[in-house]
């Protein structure tokens, strides 16, 4: 266990360095970011901005400085807001995480019962209907789902506000949108994980000795299917955050996603780097936790 932990932590550190390198590369991808930021400025102004950003130093020096600052949460001041970029990102993070958690909760509430049911009653009409929903759901852009829900519930029936994040009623549409994007994904994972275990010997034995179907499914099958479900959902966390970025843009939710999309279009590099770095760190940490949890909860691996 401890040997695994050490190896896993080592990989975590290496991946973090890789993430920093990619985030660092965003600024340098164009070759000369200053020409991109102020295309019409005289050369003297450009040179002074280059100095201010430390762009005249050799790249390795810049990278080390970038990492040293990033660790302390310093990504420089936003070009646009003239405030520390890190603070601008972190103060919007709770909104994004709240949206994501709400969506995951909604998706699980739908996908767990439906996924389990279609695995248990495989090849029935209900299972086929669920498969159709999965296919449709995975073929729709999340931002379009959002606009369609907006069209129906906010424009047509005037039940909910079109956008914003002030009241509970304005939270519903974004959460349902991201939930609708997430549900088919979860349904597929839950169904296939349940199918892996539902016909195994011990499940058949439990049925044979007269355990009720409900107990068989929850206590015997689901408990053993739970680990792969958690792992795969953890792996899909990046997709979820990407969906959150798009959902926030559709509904003008004041989260990290909307801030980032704006910053990217305005070439506000400090915010872009801070935001991309922070979101990637969340994903890396979630993956680390899922891996550790997997070993911790799996008795056959714990002893090693």
């Amino acid at each position: 266990m401890s040997a695994f932990l050490v190896r896993r932590l080592l990989r975590f550190v290496v991946v973090c360095i890789g993430v920093s390198l990619v985030t660092f590369a965003i600024l340098h991808a164009s070759g000369d970011p200053v020409a991109l930021i102020m295309p019409e400025a005289p050369e003297a102004d450009r040179a002074s901005l280059r100095d201010a950003l430390g762009l005249a130093d050799p790249l390795p020096t810049q990278f080390v400085r970038f990492v040293a600052n990033a660790v302390r949460g310093d990504f420089g001041n936003s070009f646009f807001y003239r405030e520390p970029a890190f603070g601008l990102v972190t103060e919007r993070m709770p909104t994004t995480l709240a949206l994501t958690c709400l969506a995951v909760a909604l998706a699980l509430a739908v996908a767990l019962p439906v996924g389990i049911y279609s695995a248990v009653r495989r090849n029935t009409v209900a299972d086929h209907a669920a498969t159709v929903v999965v296919f449709l759901g995975q073929s729709m852009p999340v931002f379009w789902i959002g606009i369609m829900l907006m069209l129906l519930f906010a424009v047509q029936w005037r039940l909910l506000p079109v956008s914003g994040w002030e009241s509970w009623s304005s939270v519903i549409l974004p959460a349902v949108t991201l939930g609708a994007f997430t549900t088919p994904l979860f349904m597929r994972i839950i169904r296939s994980s349940m199918l892996e275990v539902i016909n195994l010997d011990y499940v058949r034995t439990a049925r044979a000795k007269g355990v009720s179907e409900w107990v068989v499914i929850c206590r015997h099958a689901l408990r053993n299917a739970a680990l792969p479900i958690v792992t795969v959902i953890g792996l899909q966390f990046g997709l979820l955050l990407g969906g959150a970025v798009l959902t926030e843009t559709v509904f003008a939710v004041p989260g990290v996603g909307r801030l980032l999309v704006r910053a990217i279009v305005q070439l506000d590099f400090p915010i872009v780097q801070a935001g991309v770095f922070l979101l990637a760190m969340i994903i890396v940490t979630v993956n680390l936790l899922v891996d550790v949890l997997y070993v911790y909860l799996n008795p056959t691996l714990r002893l090693r």
């Binding site: 995975q138 073929s139 990046g238 798009l246 279009v265 872009v272 991309v276 979101l279």
Partner: protein, 301 residues
């Protein structure tokens, strides 16, 4: 025993693949979902290829007299604009048909980039192993640590949005799935007897990779590529929706949805119809890919 095998004997694996191919094809063709997907896809591809000759209007031509004409089945619709017009009077049908071009072009090209990068990395990683494998594995881990759409968005904006940038960036941010699958297959194949036999009679490394390993991974690469095209089309739509598309000059579905969103209260068809085009195309590709997987999976016989 392996030593006595002639080179012709080694072709055995290839010949069964051909036999399995026609069986797989029959299984694929008999499925209604796969047929429907193929038909829709054929229509979309034909529309994209023939766009300039089949559309009723120039997709960029504005006609301020006909702004916000609803689709023809609604009151106020105009027969020469079957799917209505947008805020400056451009024909929605013509723009959707032209939009298919960008979607398919970007979808297919980005996947070719991913495929080249990902399959090479997977082959190298699985076949050489050791330190090289660790390095490639780390790069895969790092790639998986970013929301793809965000990374693509940042790099496309930093490099300057253009068709080529979008294709390359989507290709480079979506390669890791190939690497993981090809690597796993190579690892499994490496220990197989026919590879061992080839090695035993002195077949070179590259030849083993290209003649014996790669052909055996083709079916999973084909299946994955179909599904990846669907993902790339969705990603391109998201990029143009967020405003870093291939430019205003040529209509794309994502850009049409983005512009149409501002008029959602007065013209429901503007954001709705291009989205339906995406849905149909991606659904068709997903159906075909899914059935291909079932048909090509030897375990499902």
């Amino acid at each position: 025993m392996a030593v006595t095998l002639s080179r012709e004997g080694l072709a055995y694996e290839g010949s069964t693949a051909a036999g399995a191919g026609s069986r797989a094809w029959r299984r694929f063709a008999l499925n209604p979902a796969a047929l429907a997907g193929t038909l829709i896809l054929l229509v979309v591809v034909a529309a994209a290829l023939a766009a300039p000759w089949v559309v009723p209007h120039d997709p960029a031509k504005q006609s301020l007299l006909h702004r916000f004409t609803p689709p023809v089945w609604q009151t106020g619709g105009h027969p020469s604009y079957p799917l209505g017009t947008d805020q400056v009077g451009r024909d929605v049908l013509s723009r959707i048909v032209h939009g298919a071009r960008i979607s398919l072009l970007v979808g297919v090209s980005a996947v070719i980039v991913s495929l080249l990068v990902g399959v090479t990395a997977g082959l190298v990683s699985g076949f050489i192993g050791g330190k090289v494998d660790t390095v490639i594995g780390t790069v895969v881990d790092v790639t998986l640590s970013f929301p793809q759409i965000l990374l693509a968005l940042a790099f496309v904006a930093a490099l300057g949005p253009s068709l080529v940038t979008i294709i390359v960036v989507l290709g480079i941010t979506g390669w890791e799935r190939y690497t993981r699958v090809v690597r796993a297959e190579v690892m499994a194949l490496r220990e197989k007897e026919f590879i061992e036999a080839a090695r035993a009679i002195g077949v070179g490394r590259l030849r083993i990779i290209f003649r014996h390993v790669l052909p055996n991974t083709v079916s999973s690469i084909v299946v994955m590529s179909t599904l990846q095209v669907a993902q790339a089309i969705l990603a391109e739509a998201a990029l143009s929706f967020l405003g870093v598309g291939s430019g205003r000059a040529y209509p794309t579905w994502g850009q049409m949805i983005s512009l149409g969103r501002d008029f959602v209260t007065v013209a429901w068809w503007l954001p709705t119809l291009p989205g339906l085009a995406i849905l149909l195309t991606v659904l068709a590709i997903n159906l075909v890919g899914d059935r291909l997987r079932d048909a090509l999976d030897p375990r499902a016989v």
